[in-house]
């Protein structure tokens, strides 16, 4: 029994999920001490008369939806291409503007919403393929390749919007997709993320996407000589990221009911990369943990909500966030771990000496 326990602890200590779990735990404990009712969830009646869940916990998970969606795609891109896509925020704005403009030009119905989403999906996948082509075919580092779309993306959205910030006059979308469906107490974005996570899990289980992406990220030559086409895999992960981007953009439009090309999903690319890193994934590619990345997304959001709750102004929040990020990554840094274990063993030795001295 004891042996199994130590084995589990050891496995956990070496697992890359240690850091995100620890961070999550600390955040929860901190909040509970600060305000024991912080995480209480209540069933309340919202302004549309539906019974819905409400509370900080729900809003954290709800607000992190876009980030979680992007983190899923970003994890795959990081694993296979050894770099990150910094254009996801800009691309999501483009996808969102396609979505909102299709809806504005047509009547609001479920098939139309689906069509609008598909259209934004196609556009986002095309941009994903553009990034993927630069990375896979021209062998340009992802960060540099996606810098192009990062630079131009938000203004392409502006162009699509015809120089305006469009909004939806019909509130069906915002009322249902952005918040709650009648009768379902869970926010729709959360459900959407769950569906995506399940689909992703199924894909990883029933295809070799995970193995191939890791193999390409670890050793492209070896992957090629074993029959994998690295170009295809890299293109594929960027296109999958494109789908995630379209989802994130559409969810954001549903939530806001409008789209401002300058402020929508601002800095989310940085947060998405951060989520991947906090999830214990190496940003230089190779092995990945999807669960870790999604947890990373929730940690970032939880941190933000905590800071809001502490009445830190929204601009200054970044400074605190930075400190926490550094702390999290610092704990996970191998060098720090090494020094910590050295220190630990030294302390142990010292106590041993003291004990023998006592004898």
């Amino acid at each position: 029994m004891n042996k199994r326990f130590t084995a589990t602890t050891r496995a956990l200590a070496h697992s890359q999920l240690l850091i995100p779990l620890l961070a999550f735990f600390l955040l929860i404990v901190f909040n509970l001490i600060r305000d024991p009712s912080f995480f209480s969830v209540a069933l309340v009646k919202n302004n549309l008369g539906n019974m819905v869940l409400s509370g900080n916990l729900i809003s954290i998970i709800d607000n992190a939806s876009e980030l979680a969606l992007l983190a899923i795609g970003m994890t795959l891109v990081t694993a296979a291409s050894k770099g990150q896509d910094i254009s996801v925020g800009a691309a999501a704005t483009i996808a969102g503007s396609v979505f909102i403009n299709v809806l504005r030009a047509n009547d609001m119905s479920l098939p139309m919403i689906l069509f609008a989403f598909l259209a934004s999906c196609v556009v986002a996948m095309l941009f994903g393929a553009f990034n993927g082509t630069l990375v896979a075919l021209f062998k340009i580092q992802p960060m540099i390749a996606t810098l192009i779309l990062y630079t131009a993306g938000r203004d392409i959205a502006y162009w699509i919007n015809g120089g305006a910030s469009p909004d939806l006059t019909d509130k069906t979308l915002t009322n249902y997709f952005g918040t709650f469906f009648p009768g379902i107490p869970i926010p729709t974005p959360i459900l959407l993320v769950c569906v995506c996570l399940i689909i992703m899990a199924l894909i990883l289980k029933f295809t070799n996407l995970g193995l191939y992406a890791q193999a390409v990220g670890i050793n492209e030559n070896a992957a090629r000589l074993n029959g994998i086409d690295p170009v295809r895999i890299k293109l594929l992960v960027f296109i999958i990221l494109g789908i995630c981007v379209a989802l994130a953009g559409s969810v954001n439009v549903c939530r806001m009911g409008s789209l401002n090309h300058k402020t929508a999903l601002l800095d989310i690319e940085m947060d998405a990369i951060l989520a991947v890193a906090i999830g214990g994934n190496a940003l230089i590619g190779g092995k990945f943990s999807m669960v870790g990345s999604v947890m990373g997304a929730y940690i970032i959001r939880a941190l933000q909500t905590t800071l809001y709750a502490m009445e830190v102004s929204s601009d200054a929040i970044k400074a605190y966030k930075a400190v926490v990020i550094i702390a999290i990554v610092l704990i996970g840094s191998p060098v720090v771990k090494k020094y910590a274990s050295l220190l630990f063993s030294k302390l142990r030795k010292n106590t041993a000496v003291v004990q023998t001295g006592d004898l």
Binding site: Q141, T151, L283
Partner: protein, 358 residues
């Protein structure tokens, strides 16, 4: 059986030549096609005057990129330095020299912390400098409280100082000769470029930066103190961001924490256009200077050619970036041997005709 050797030109020089050629070609074309402002020396010098801070920041970034790293905190740091200086000048009625000291101090402190975290604690540069960016932006909101404009008189005097260039200039509408003027920031920027160029080319530190960017493992074996060298790259970058922030203040006289312009990305773009590779080991500050000029010239060309809608600027910038990135990729891969060559997969057949009977 010796193979005839190619002209011994290094990647760095090759990319520099490309950048120079394209910039000169572009500017010459603009002078011929649109004439007008492009023929005016003042407009050319204004690119320097208006973007002196960007030139300096890009130099810092080039150093980091040569050493194989990345620093995306320079934009935030630029803002933080600007606001710190304003606060020091106005709220504490400090001297201009003191403000310069504050700028350098903030920059150095940032560079120091980031350098230690990245090189000695081996944390990922992207994450550390990302956190640095957040931190800088957050702190500048806290200390500045909002958009600020410097009102310190001693400072304004220096800010408004310009150097008139004798003999160079243009004729005003009334036919009078207006000599071209340059600001203090431009002089500082050119000095920085010169100094960094010398450092990179002729000092041991400079060559070590190239070495660790080329292959850090080998550099270690060659007896280079890789950690210290990497530390210096971030340290220098922080220092330059400090100078850049001060120069920004010299030109604009104000700072706005809610300004979302991603200066760090402009700086990265300028470095890339100037021939730095993010993989490290290749780059040149003269190229970077031309990179900034190219970026701004293309914007001017866009305006001159009548694309006045607000979105065209960044879209053309993106297109130019795309052009340079792809060009560099092709050039470098053509030089590489064997596996490094750009190979299109067989299922993409647009390059080759169908192979006979296969």
């Amino acid at each position: 059986m010796r193979i005839k050797r190619r002209e011994p030109i290094t990647d760095t020089n090759l990319l520099l030549i490309i950048t120079v050629t394209i910039f000169v070609g572009m500017y010459a074309l603009a002078m011929i096609v649109w004439g007008g402002g492009f023929l005016n020396p003042q407009q050319f010098l204004n690119i320097f005057n208006n973007n002196a801070h960007l030139i300096i920041l890009s130099c810092g970034l080039t150093i980091v990129m040569i050493a194989g790293g990345i620093d995306i905190s320079v934009g935030g740091l630029n803002l933080l330095v600007t606001l710190s200086c304003i606060v020091y000048l106005d709220d504490h009625s400090g001297s201009v020299i003191g403000a310069a000291g504050v700028a350098l101090g903030v920059g150095l402190a940032f560079g120091l912390v980031q350098g230690v975290l990245i090189s000695y604690l081996e944390m990922q540069p992207f994450i550390v400098t990302l956190a640095g960016m957040f931190f800088a932006k957050g702190v500048s909101t806290i200390i500045g409280g909002g958009p600020r404009t410097a009102t310190n008189e001693a400072f304004l005097e220096i800010k408004n100082w310009t150097l008139r260039l004798p003999g160079i200039g243009s004729y005003g509408k009334a036919g009078n000769f207006v000599p071209a003027k340059i600001e203090l920031g431009m002089i500082i920027a050119l000095l920085v470029v010169a100094v960094i160029f010398i450092v990179l080319r002729w000092t041991r530190l400079g060559r070590n930066l190239y070495a660790i960017g080329g292959n850090s493992q080998s550099s270690l074996m060659l007896g280079i103190n890789v950690k210290r060298t990497r530390f210096y790259s971030y340290f220098l970058c922080g220092l330059l961001a400090g100078i850049g922030g001060f120069v920004y203040l010299l030109h604009n006289g104000s700072g706005d924490p809610s300004n979302v312009a991603p200066i760090e990305m402009h700086a990265i773009a300028a470095s890339i256009i100037g021939g730095s590779l993010l993989t490290g080991g290749v780059g040149n500050v003269v190229g970077t200077l031309l990179g900034v000029l190219s970026l701004k010239t293309i914007t001017a060309i866009v305006v001159a050619s009548g694309l006045t809608k607000p979105w065209w600027q960044s879209i053309t910038t993106g297109a130019m970036l795309c052009f340079f990135i792809v060009l560099q990729s092709i050039v470098i891969s053509r030089r590489g041997a064997g596996n490094a060559k750009l190979q299109f997969p067989p299922w993409l057949k647009f390059r080759r005709k169908k192979q006979p009977d296969e």
